[in-house]
Every structure is written in C-alpha cells, then in structure tokens.
C-alpha cells in the first residue's frame, strides 16, 4: 500500500510546502522591512533580505512607548470586559431558549434569530450611539455594538440542548430555583462551550477596528487596531506627498518612517499571531458546530 503512494506523497508535500510559504512569506516581508535601515529602504526598497539591518525603528518605538502601551491597555480592557459580559449574556439567553419547557421559547428564538437576517444598518446605529446614547469617545462604544451575537447564541444553544433535561428536573424537585440551576449546574456543565465561545468573542474584540473608526477620536482611547488604521493612513499621506516633504527640506531618510510603521504592525499584531494558533482547534470546533442547525 505505502509503496504505491510514495511518489504522490512527495508531490503533496511539495505542494503544501509551497502553499505554506506563500502564506507565511508576506509576514516575513513586513518583519524584514521593520528591521531594515531606513537608508537601505530608500535605496533598495522593501526586501526580504535587507542589505543593512537596523533596530532603529524598534528603538524609536521603545523610547516613546506610551502610544503603543496605551493602545494595548485599551484593547486588553475592552477584550476582557467585553468577553466576560458577552459570554454571560450569551449563555443566559441561549440557556433560556434551549429549555424545551419554556413557554416563550419559540418567540424568543425568533426574536434573537431575526436580528441575524435583517438589520437597520450603519447609519441608524451610528445615530443611536452618538446622538441618543452619547457614547462618542467612550470605551462602551467599543464594547456594546458587538456584545451579543445571535450566531454565538445559536452555537451555545446547540450545546446546551444536549444537557439532559432530567438533570434540571431533579434539581427542581430538590427545590432549586432557576437562577441557581443556571449558575450552579448549567454553567459548570457548559465549560467546553464557554471556553470555545469565550475565545471567539475575545478574538472578535481583539481584532475590532470598525467601531473604533466610528466612535473614537480621543487619542487616549485608541485601541490597537485603530492605532494601526491611523498609522496606515499616515504612511499613505507621507509617501504620496514625498515631493512636498522634500521641498520643505524634511529629510524623510533620517526618520525611520517606513521601518517604524512596519515595526508598529509587528509589535501590535505579532503577539496574537503567536498565541492564537495554539487555540486553532477551538476556532474550527466553534464554527463547525455553528454551521449546523442548533
């Protein structure tokens, strides 16, 4: 058996090695640029193997770490609060609609599910957030819009429906109230699903930039992803106006402009890129469960 598969095995490994390289090399280009001497960039452009290596970009970032640290602080705060609150709300709502004996089970399911199919869209939400709830420049504006996803509720419901109803019934006979049943019995039994969804929700918060773009102007409340958005836009400005900056006598070459910005990308995006792959299987589990009807 194995003998006949050998040549095709080599072909497969070759194919997947090439594909893996295509996926990974672009990251290495960003890292390489962040480590390239600014003069070498002006001379040779962005290269995978820089002619002269320099840590200036990182030195420059670490001399004034406030911006980056503050952005990390905002993102971590939003992620922790959002994930905990979101997870609790998701579990509560999902549990109620997972109970076949709950009288308003179907209507609640429809109420939640309908928001997946139809939405008011950007403008009404924006006006609600800014004109009525006055959440401009508030961290709540980063937390609330993505707090409770109907998709996650359905995934959670699918899991909780599998908890035998006998457990709940016997607890009721013992005189336990619904709150107690939920917090003492259901939540502990749901830890695998809670872990998976908690990770998905944290991931959503960590990578969220859209609400930052909409609601945050105050530089002290800029989350990581918004810092990246702003930096990307300013690169565009400086490089597309290079003639203008040259006329003014600004020496772009001495300021680690290119490499510093790529260094921000590495410092802001790098850590998660190392951590998240360890949780890869949770992502697949969470999303394949979700693709089935709960």
């Amino acid at each position: 058996m194995t003998k006949t598969t050998k040549p095709s095995q080599i072909g497969l490994h070759l194919l997947f090695t090439v594909l893996s390289l295509i996926v990974i090399l672009p990251f290495l280009l960003v890292v390489a640029v962040s480590l390239t001497d600014e003069k070498a960039i002006t001379q040779n452009g962005y290269q995978f193997f820089p002619k002269s290596i320099s840590l200036d970009a990182y030195r420059y970032m670490l001399d004034a770490p406030d911006i980056l640290l503050r952005a990390y602080g905002v993102t971590i705060t939003v992620t922790v609060i959002g994930a905990l609150a979101g997870l609790l709300l998701t579990a509560m709502t999902a549990y109620v609609i997972s109970r076949p004996d709950y009288r308003y089970n179907r209507i609640t399911t429809f109420y939640v599910f309908f928001t997946m199919l139809f939405s008011g869209g950007l403008v009404p939400s924006y006006i609600l957030m800014t004109q009525y709830l006055h959440l401009k420049d508030s961290l709540l504006a980063l937390i609330l819009p993505v707090l409770l996803s109907p998709f996650n509720i359905m995934v959670m419901k699918g899991f909780m429906s599998k908890i035998p109803i006998e457990i709940i019934e016997s607890a009721k006979i013992d005189g336990a109230r619904e709150f107690r049943i939920f917090f003492r019995i259901i939540l502990p039994l749901s830890t695998p699903a809670l872990a998976t969804l908690g990770l998905l929700i944290s991931f959503t918060y960590w990578n969220e930039w859209f609400n930052g773009m909409l609601y945050i102007d105050n530089p002290n409340k800029v989350p990581l992803q918004l810092l990246l958005v702003r930096t990307l836009k300013s690169i565009d400005f400086l490089t597309s106006n290079s003639e203008f900056t040259q006329q003014l006598g600004i020496d772009l070459a001495s300021f680690p402009n290119n490499s510093a910005r790529m260094a921000i990308a590495v410092l802001a995006g790098g850590p998660m890129l190392v951590i998240f792959p360890f949780f890869q299987r949770f992502f697949v589990k969470g999303l394949t469960v979700g693709s089935l009807k709960g």
């Binding site: 893996s20 109620v96 009404p124 609600l128 609330l144 409770l148 930039w209 697949v284």
Partner: protein, 303 residues
C-alpha cells in the same frame, strides 16, 4: 388573560434570565430598524431623527440617478460571487489533498494555512502595502530589477479585481479548508476500507466517496451564501486598496460607500438610503436562499 398571567408566573424566572439579552437586542438591533426611516428624511443632526423633514423617495431618486448605485451593486455582488466560488473550490481541493498527507505533517500545513485568518484586515493592509507601495514596494522593485516599468498600484484600477480576489483567497482559504477537512474526517471510515479491499485508487476514492458525500454540505453552503451576496467585506475593500479614490471604480462596494457617505462626505441621508437598499435587498436574498435550500433538503435550511 388570567390564564396567561398564571403561565407567565410559572415561567418568570427563565424570562428574567433572558431579559438582559432581550433588552440588549431591543436597543442595539430593533431600535436601529426604526431608524431606517432616516432614509426617507432629509436628516439634520440639529433636528434629530424625528424632527428632520420627510422627503419621500427623494434620497433614493438621487442615489439611483448616480453611477455609484450601479457600480457598488455590481461590485458587491460580483466580488462576493467570485470570493465564494474561488474559496470553496480551492478549499475543497486542499481539504481532499490534505486528507492524503500523514497526520503529523498535515497539522503543520493546517496551522500555516490558517495563520492569516487570525489577522485583522488592517494588518493585512500593511502586508499588501509592503508589496504594492509605488516607490519602495517589493513588486515594483522586483519589476525594476528586471528592467520593467513600475506600476502605480494604488492609482490603477485595472488589476484590482485580481488583487482583491487573491488577497481574500489568501486570508480565507485555510479556514475553509479546515471546515471541509473536518467534514471529510467525519465520513465513515468503512467506506474507504471497503473501497480499498475492492482495489480502488486514491483518486477513485476521492471522486466516488469523498466528493459525493461532501456535495450536499458544499451545495447548501453555496446557496446559503447567496443570502449574504449583498453584504460586502468592508475591511477587505477599505484597507487593501487603502481607500484610494482612483480605485473606486473597481473596489468600491456598498459597505465602503455607505461608510464614506456617512463619515467622510457627511451626507447622512444618502448613506441611510444606500443602507436601506442594502438591508432590504439583503433580507429578500436571505429569504430566497433559505427557500431554495428548504426545497432541496429541509434539514439544512436555516429555519
């Protein structure tokens, strides 16, 4: 009435448990639906949602009189179709091939292919910029090294359909491969055992067992994605072309147009009308897609 009150009393603890979620959805999902009326008003921030004047279909008449309406509709639908088809085909093929690789190695490949999924579109924007930047970008410097003319990527709309499709594929294929891969692993091993005994080759097994058994899942997922045809990928179309005005002809989609109208141009009514158009047509498409799936196989429909 009395009876219902009695029922409610029996269910009230569970109702209280669901109340935070219900209130949340009321404020953040159902109130904005009421806000859709802005599309029929000449919205002014000082007059507010209810104080602004009704203008009937004026906003829509204006929207559909511009070239933009056609352009963003066409782009949104065609890009989504291209993304869905390229990703599904590539992911299915890779999943089948991955199944032939020994488990030890397949794990490494899976992780590598999955990696871009963890990045936000903003970060992918940096990666794209490193390649496409006019003066220093890797592609232009490579072109120059071979004596060719550099290309102003961010000012030249022509190549963007290809660029966007490739970038989307790069980011999404790993994740989708794993979904199909999980589907293949779920296929009963006895089919393959039986085929092996009958002397079937790997290719025959893929064509006669794996693909037919995966087909329902794939077809259902494809049809369901019709429901999302009107929802564009804002991040991809905003950050990868770096919101460059030269490229709008081939990169602008409904979502980016709505955002710009609201935040950059400041035309709230126009933005609201476009958003209304997107919500309503999107909703019709979801109903349609689900109806088709229900006809084929009720088990796989969304409801």
């Amino acid at each position: 009435m009395r009876r219902e009150l009695h029922h409610f009393r029996n269910n009230r603890e569970l109702f209280v448990l669901s109340l935070p979620g219900i209130v949340y959805k009321l404020i953040f999902a159902y109130l904005p639906m009421v806000g859709l009326i802005i599309a029929f008003k000449n919205y002014r921030y000082d007059l507010g949602m209810f104080g602004s004047k009704w203008v009937g279909l004026e906003n829509f008449r204006y929207l559909f009189s511009t070239d933009a309406a056609w352009r963003i509709t066409r782009n949104t639908v065609l890009y989504n179709a291209a993304y869905i088809l390229t990703t599904a085909a590539a992911a299915l093929l890779l999943a089948i091939l991955l199944n032939e690789v020994k488990a030890k190695w397949s794990k490494y490949y899976q992780t590598a292919l999955f990696l871009p999924y963890f990045l936000s579109w903003v970060l992918v924007g940096y990666v794209a910029y490193a390649f496409l930047n006019h003066s220093d970008g890797f592609i232009n410097r490579t072109l120059e090294a071979f004596g060719m003319e550099p290309i102003s990527w961010y000012q030249n709309a022509g190549p963007w359909p290809v660029i966007l499709i490739l970038v989307q594929l790069w980011k999404a294929v790993g994740f989708n491969t794993l979904i199909y891969f999980a589907g293949i692993i779920g296929i009963n091993g006895e089919y393959y055992e039986a085929a092996k005994i009958d002397g079937a080759t790997k290719r025959q097994m893929a064509m006669k067992i794996t693909i037919p058994l995966l087909a329902p899942l794939v077809i259902i997922m494809l049809i369901l994605s019709i429901g999302n045809m009107f929802r564009g990928d804002f991040g991809l179309h905003y950050f990868i072309p770096n919101n460059s005005g030269f490229l709008y002809g081939s990169t602008d989609i409904i979502d980016t147009y709505v955002y710009r109208a609201l935040r950059e141009v400041g035309n709230v009514s126009m933005s609201a009308a476009t958003g209304f158009y997107q919500s309503v047509v999107g909703f019709i498409l979801v109903l349609l897609a689900n109806g088709i799936v229900r006809k084929i196989n009720p088990d796989h429909s969304l409801w």
